[in-house]
Amino acid sequence: MFPRLLTAKSVAIFALFIIPLLLGGCAGPLSTLDPAGPAATAVAWLWWAMFAFSTVVLLAVVVLWLVAMRRDPDGVSEEAARRLQNRWIVGGGLILPLASVTVLLAFGIPVGHNMLPVAADGEDVLRIEVTGHQWWWEVEYPGKDIRLADELHIPVGVPVHVHVTSEDVIHSFWVPRLGGKLDAIPGRDNVLRLVADEPGTYRGQCAEFCGLNHAHMDFTLEAHSQEAFEAWLEEAHSDE
């Protein structure tokens, strides 16, 4: 019934073949696995750790299952079966998930908290206001008299607090290489903290389905060095 193809060895060979392929394919203008800011970097590491651990768990369960289906249980007394039951259910059903979840949360929750828009004492934060429309992003720099459509400019290394809201339906503001997404909801002011490590142009995309042209509701975020950003501010202001 089960072709011999599906042995542990062949699975390993398959994995060896597929993993480099996956690693090679991780770059991309919207790739969360090609991070360019502290938040996205932390999440990418979380992903790789979870991926590795999950792969081990999955393979272990599948191998156990195949062995269990093939083995001849001769001589398993009811007594032995009951011991086995308790050992497996307590070990695999309780301890394994509880321990994994605890470890995961111990690493994961701090990562999440660091991504929250809380400015440290005396930290310099740039505030940008973004409003979602069907199907474009209105960008405003409060106090600087700058309004843009579908483009943001930020300085490298400075935390940016993007205040996100919407004029019509729910959208979601997302620059994958810098950090997580945050929904733009009518009537609400949500704040997303982003930091770019390197100058460059990063792509963003509406992530929450928002109607006809959702697929084309993209934008760019340009990270400048401090000086270039000042210069850009100057220029953008005079353009208005």
Binding site: L46, V61, I185
Partner: protein, 838 residues
Amino acid sequence: MSDARTEEGGTLEQRFERVWSNLPGWGTLAAVNHTSLGLRFMVTGVVFFLIGGLLAMLVRTQLALPEQEIISADVYNQIFTMHGTVMMFLFAIPILEGLAIYMIPKFIGARDLVFPRITSLGYYCYLFGGLIIASSLVLGEAPDSGWFMYTPLSGSAYAPGPGSDFWLLGVTFVEISAMAAGIELTVSILRTRSNGMSLRRMPIFCWYILAMALMIVFGFPPLILASILLELERAVGMPFFDVAGGGDPVLWQHLFWLFGHPDVYIIFLPAAGIVSTLIPVFSQRPIVGYRWLVLAIIVTAFISFGLWVHHMFTIGIPKLAQSFFSVASMLVAVPTAIQIFAWLATLWTGRVIYSLPMLWIFGFLVVFVAGGLTGVMLALVPFNWQVHDTHFVVAHLHYVLVGGMLFPLIAGFYYWLPHWSGRMPSAALGRWGFWLTFIGFNVTFLLMHLTGLLGMPRRVYTYEAGLGWDWLNLLSSVGGFIMAAGVAMILLDIALHFRFGRPAPRNPWNADTLEWATDTPPGSYNFVSLPDVRTRHPLWEHPELPETIAAGEHGLARIDHGRRETYGSDAVTGKVREVIHLPSNSWLPLLAALSLAVVCIALLVRVYPVAALGAAGAMVFLLRWSWVNGAHPQAAPLKDNEPHQPPLHSRTCDGPGLWGMVVTLLANGTLYVSLIFGWLYLWTASPGWSVPEGQQIPLVPLIGSGVLLTLTVLFYHRVVERLRGRDATGLQGKLWGVSILGGAHVALLVWVQMSAALSPTELAHDALLLVMLIYLFIHGGLAVILSVLQAVRVRLGYINSALPYEPVVLRPFWVYTLGVFWVSFAVFILLPMAWGGA
């Protein structure tokens, strides 16, 4: 119950068949039999699965290459919305309900479900609702806001066409069938088990279905309420979800996912029940850790109601709430892992027989465990912020749903095929079907995780080339078509087996449970006689049971009375307490469902007088239905020779009707609590919430109305207590008194409503108050109508000291009506006063 049917003659089986069979020809549409209707549910479910699958193929065709314009954005949005809607609401839930409807009586040794006409009503609501939803595709007006219909996108401003209405009305219509199945299965499992089948001896499958049924009872009402509110917003302009009127679109998300997350487990648990049934049979040993499994089922059911917010991590909710829902979401891994290791231990200690169903169970394991692991990942908030609403989530949910539901379902189909057809499935074609489906599925969705991580959002109708998604999407599409070929192979296999399969012996897999004690295919009455069950594995310990059952050696083997009967038993011990007499074939469910379909369509095209007409029609048919009950001549009129030990259920004070009433009220109460949730949520969290000045609802008449209601219910309670003591003196007059007093309550309530200064189309606050008042009005009014009917039935002799059943059934409804009245008064009137808002 005509005389022709009670005629003597023929074998025992033939005489049973005369009482239990469906009407010939078109009369089969009046069938109420669970075997027939279970099959119809499943066949209809398969048809909708094929429609949903076809839509998926269109999606994969469009996304195969970047920048394709095969399908326009508009049509694409309809297609993916309908794919999700059809698969969730018209395939996954109904087909599992159908399986449960077919199987449960056979597992517990009963002849039918406890409310057969409700089975039929449920089926027709499903069929008509499904047709209405599907017709939107043909009309080119399908819903296009995604299957979870987030507002404001699904509201009238941004979805002006009828698409959203098709969804809201159609899905609510279909949900009647889910609620019907949930209530009926709960009561059947608790109250109609074989004599001696205590909860501890109940097959594990029944535990899973019991959990599913109860989860439907508590899980669906939030969505039903949300759909009603959104439809009111769209049709009349009540701004529940509109910030400008003090509503909040996030309320929709809460209500939707309050349903949506339990729904995942409503789908998974019965499938896991199939796994837990098949594994011990193919290991030829009892399941390991039965009690652990029961515990895991109960824990899963509970936890699943506490996780809904993990679908909403990106809406900007507070830090503490995110941690809480993260932990809760991950904890659900524990009961799942318990089940997986119990299955493993069963296989480990048994001698496993290789067979086609086990191959599908293996596929289930691989895919579902992978999906569960990515589920734990998604529960981690920072990771969720990255991959939420990307193709990673699409991949995850297909792993969980296809792996966790479709694969076990197909395993179950192959396992129970001999039961339906009397023939065995083939091995070769079936194996091809499995491997094609399994490989195709993984090619499609394993890669899709990476597509999501590389940033491809879900629900985009096309994408630019060169973002790193091109080859992944192409392979996903290829995989999708391989999977489609696999599904075609399975269908071919099943179709061929009806003709070429070799005839199945009795109990072909050597199973332990009672469903294999019937004939294959089974007679419409399942069992000629109803055996005692003193073990969890009746067929392993008493392999002679099928013969002795057929020979009529066990209980209730008489049929000369012409009634459809099965045992009613104690919920815990399974000891027989009464004989439940079941209704025979009836056109009323079909007529009621047709009337409801008229309501649904009339609301859709906004011709409200016709809708009112349809509602009145439905009311008439349903009341007629409730009329043909108890001692009515067409049901079980009092006779001299009727059984007393145990008695017929309509001669007792604690029959299945009372249980059905209580479970229905639990569902109804959940709907009401969802309304309170909406009220409190908007008060505390809505950004534009505003409360009008002054007291809008006249307090004195409202309190007066409540006092009248309290007196009515106290009176009714006394009447019922007397009746339970078999004292029916002056019963008719008292019931008229109850009706008049209750009528005064309703009249005063109507007056309150008319004189209330509400502007429900401007403020969400007022709209919610109005909904609350209407809710109270409907309950008061219905209670009065039913009390009047009771009074008339006393007069006709259907209720008396020997027949105290019906007033007892109605009592919880009155008590509930009283309860919601004063709770509403406290929450909607007093609480805001105390807050200083109103």
